[in-house]
Symmetry: C2
């Protein structure tokens, strides 16, 4: 499979959606789909879809459509979902616990090894089968267990320091829920989920939509 | 304050970030800031920043920079944060509980009234001071309590139906955490937080970054 380098982030962000819709089709025993049918499902144009897949060497045959099962499996590999990667969560509060229980971690090939927190009230408590560890042992744990992905669900004030410590110990991917814009070296990939920015955007849309309708 | 209509979503999505950085400056007693200083903080170019603010009638005076307190307050109004709006959460599992405990709700002017769930095991349980209600009473509750924002943290299979019922009862803003692309009428605003798409994106970045570095 030939891949272009420098696939744009806009393309990358559409891949998980394709993967999800193809999974739905698979579960309905649909084996072939054209780019125009995929367009109706996803809301992207058929030409956009063909261009996106061309970044990774195609997959389709002109006039025959795509083989759903093969496309799903290839996209899964491109997304790296066929690998297993050790992960830890720092920040064992409500959000950290919710993320720890999130079934999507496993689907994305992440094996959650443990939670860390700095609060003496939290350390030693169990979330499911996992005991919350003292964050002072973070570096040792990451190195000894070959942890590659760190999930940050701390308050904003601790986030950069936690990221620095993760990276110094060998982590190269961060899923960041703290409302901070982390500064990291080039080899480290950060994906942010900034809930407040999302919520403020909703607030804007509701507020301004209402104004215009009055 | 003059506003342009049809402000692009790209601009709208930068507003919460400006608002957050201005709040940080305020808490440090910084009263003036230039667009180039704001550029260093946010990572957006100074010209981008000036253009963004021009969508809402400016705020700055050439050569004098921006008044931090005034800009923060104006952005808050534009984002609709000065209003209070009733909200409910449907889906009282881990994620729903985490979102219910999220301090950002109040900051965004949302007053969380209650949780709904369909599981008999969950109905009647308390999350903090709030008792989880039977989702069969959703419509009545929304109408009687003038609820305008609905937060969906259900599994994907229930999400569209829950959205339809919310909208039929008067809700016009949805914060959707289910991995579904909701179909809604034009007057309803949806803001999605698709955790699996974010996580798959991280997985792609880590997988492909590693390959290239080897």
């Amino acid at each position: 499979m030939k891949r272009k380098n420098n696939v744009s982030m806009a393309v990358v962000r559409r891949l998980p959606k394709y993967y999800r819709y193809l999974g739905d089709l698979l579960s309905k025993d649909i084996s072939k789909i054209s780019s125009s049918e995929l367009s109706k499902l996803t809301g992207f144009t058929a030409s956009q879809i063909r261009q996106d897949f061309n970044n990774f060497g195609g997959f389709g045959q002109q006039g025959y459509g795509y083989n759903v099962s093969e496309l799903h499996s290839q996209l899964g590999k491109i997304l790296g979902l066929n690998r297993v990667c050790n992960a830890v969560i720092v920040g064992a509060g409500n959000l950290g616990q919710a993320i720890g229980n999130y079934a999507g971690l496993e689907e994305a090939g992440l094996r959650l090894l443990t939670f860390f927190d700095k609060s003496p009230k939290m350390i030693g408590l169990k979330i499911g089968d996992i005991e919350i560890k003292d964050v002072s042992t973070l570096e040792t744990f990451i190195k000894e267990n070959n942890v590659k992905v760190g999930i940050i669900t701390t308050p904003i004030a601790s986030a950069q320091q936690v990221a620095d410590r993760m990276i110094a110990s060998g982590i190269n991917g961060i899923w960041n829920f703290a409302e901070a814009d982390l500064k990291v070296p080039e080899h480290v990939m950060v994906e942010n989920v900034h809930l407040n920015e999302s919520l403020f955007t909703l607030s804007y849309l509701v507020a301004n939509n209402n104004n215009e309708n009055k």
